[in-house]
């Protein structure tokens, strides 16, 4: 058996055991004569079989807002927040990383803003941007921007001076140094920030959706709705879907990283 297959087998096994235990444990009655009393009450944690049924229902055309539409909305907001956050964070990191004086000027502002718990901004952002897509993007941006900014800043700062000198001796202009030395050096650092950035973008979006209401309601809306109706199964459907979205996005980033950083020794094998 190859290493890969072995790992995959174990993953499957663990998944089956977990799901099986969940299904089994939530089916055991605490006192057999009293109806509805369980060791682990499916009212709170639901059961895989029920979740599957709810998923099928939510995925069918019978509901007004299907799980697909909600997932799409969440993915869309997350991607926008991610893209906007990464690009602005990267640009700001590059500029401040190479301009010492500017960095010194902005330092206290950046630290102050970054120290704010982002969740405290949710009401304000909602007040300004409403309940729609824009508010969610802004919320995701406030988190992603800083993660990417700090990493890129470090990367741009730490560029080997001799690499810059050798580019200059080869005839590079200021812009060419930026494009061929600083950007590629900093990218390695930026990429280290991207996987956490996806998760944080997702956090920002879901928190936004908690408040967002039904218009463009994503999975966060489903979670809040389920809280209102005390429906654990629907909540689990939303959570599991979020998990899948998170995995798919992280894998996507890994692929891009593998391709762009293929010069690094750690990506040489099996790429």
């Amino acid at each position: 058996m190859t290493e890969r297959a072995w790992v995959l087998c174990w993953r499957l096994l663990i998944l089956v055991v977990l799901v099986g235990a969940w299904e089994w444990l939530t089916g055991i009655k605490a006192i057999s004569t009293t109806p509805g009393l369980y060791w682990i009450d499916p009212f709170f944690v639901s059961r895989p079989s029920v979740i599957l049924r709810r998923f099928a229902y939510l995925a069918s055309g019978e509901v007004r807002l299907s799980i697909w539409a909600m997932a799409l909305s969440t993915v869309q907001s997350t991607l926008w927040g991610f893209v906007v956050g990464v690009s602005t964070g990267f640009a700001a990191g590059l500029v401040l990383g190479r301009r010492d004086r500017l960095a010194r000027v902005f330092e206290p502002f950046i630290i102050a803003f970054n120290s704010l718990p982002r969740i405290a901004l949710v009401p304000l952002i909602t007040m300004i941007f409403g309940f729609g897509l824009l508010a969610k993007i802004v919320l995701a941006w406030t988190i992603v921007f800083f993660i990417v900014f700090f990493n890129t800043f470090q990367g741009a700062r730490g560029v080997d001076a001799d690499l810059i000198h050798s580019a200059r001796f080869l005839g590079a202009s200021e812009r060419q140094v930026m494009r061929t030395v600083i950007v590629p050096s900093a990218l390695a650092w930026t990429f280290a920030a991207l996987t956490p950035s996806v998760s944080f973008a997702l956090i920002g979006v879901v928190v936004g959706e908690f408040l967002g209401g039904e218009t463009g309601g994503g999975l966060g809306y489903l979670i809040i709705q389920s809280l209102g109706t005390l429906n654990a199964a629907d909540m689990m459907v939303a959570l599991l879907t979020l998990g899948v979205i998170g995995i798919v996005m992280a894998l996507g980033i890994k692929q891009v990283e593998r391709r762009l950083l293929r010069w690094r020794p750690e990506y040489r094998t099996g790429a």
């Binding site: 000198h165 001796f169 005839g171 060419q176 590629p184 040489r268």
Partner: protein, 268 residues
């Protein structure tokens, strides 16, 4: 901290000059001043009668450290200078191919530096500099990190390129054998703060064979003449010379002179 003091010398067009001296004598500082990376606190550097202010055009610099761009393949590293100068398309491709051939890296064009040996990477760095045809070459212990065999091969390659194109070269090294093998003239520096101790013309005719050269009388003669002066520098009392002497003597002795020079300081 003063690195060098009152250093003055001239390098003629098409001349190959080597600067040798004990570690920390300011050899690299001199080179950095020549390249416009460091501004001298006193005095001036002139190139063709004009003061050197910034990185001058037509000057190639090969660093001791590995400065091959790790995110570019061999081919694209060698193409860098051409790319910066706007040489594109067929012309770029032709010159890069020529560079790859001269560096003996055929078959490795699409390899990333992380997969190459130190010697191969330094070949890329050298060829990347040569492919844009600089008139002046500044080299800061470019082969310092390589093993003796690779070093000798690269000496031969450098000499054959130089004999074809006759760039003006200033080559910093702490390896006396290397200096004698390559240079027309050797500048010996004192300990820090470095001054010019001796300027010596190497009387070995060209073309030189980097291997056979070492068996000749002339080589032994040149070696002992310079070593006598350099050895004084290493043996003089005061400062940190205790272990530095050993370290430098070990470096300088690595070139296998045919017989131990008489004035070699005892290694205690």
């Amino acid at each position: 901290m003063e690195a060098v003091h009152d250093v003055s010398f001239e390098v003629a067009d098409k001349e190959f000059v080597a600067i040798v001296g004990p570690s920390g004598c300011g050899k690299s500082t001199i080179l950095n001043m020549l390249g416009g990376l460091v501004t001298p606190s006193e005095g001036a550097i002139e190139l063709d009668g004009r003061p050197v202010a910034d990185v001058p055009p037509n000057v190639g610099y090969v660093f001791q450290k590995d400065t091959v761009f790790p995110w570019r393949t061999v081919r694209r590293n060698i193409a860098l200078g051409l790319e910066y100068r706007g040489v594109r398309g067929d012309e770029q491709e032709r010159r890069v191919r020529e560079g790859v051939r001269l560096a003996g890296l055929e078959g490795f064009e699409d390899a990333f530096p992380a997969t190459l040996s130190g010697g191969m990477r330094q070949r890329v760095a050298l060829m990347r500099t040569l492919v844009v045809d600089p008139e002046i070459l500044l080299m800061d212990e470019p082969f310092g990190a390589l093993d003796t065999h690779t070093k000798l091969t690269l000496h031969a390659e450098l000499l054959s390129v130089w004999e074809a194109r006759h760039q003006t070269v200033v080559f910093v090294t702490h390896d006396l054998s290397e200096a004698i093998t390559l240079a027309d003239r050797i500048i010996v520096m004192t300990r820090r703060p470095g001054r010019v101790k001796l300027v010596h013309d190497v009387g070995i005719p060209r073309p030189r064979d980097v291997i056979k050269l070492r068996e000749t009388e002339e080589y032994a003669h040149e070696y002992s003449v310079i070593w006598r002066v350099l050895g004084e520098e290493l043996a003089e009392p005061g400062g940190v010379q205790g272990d530095m002497r050993n370290a430098a003597a070990a470096h300088l002795g690595s070139g296998h002179p045919p017989r131990p020079p008489a004035s070699r300081p005892p290694l205690e």
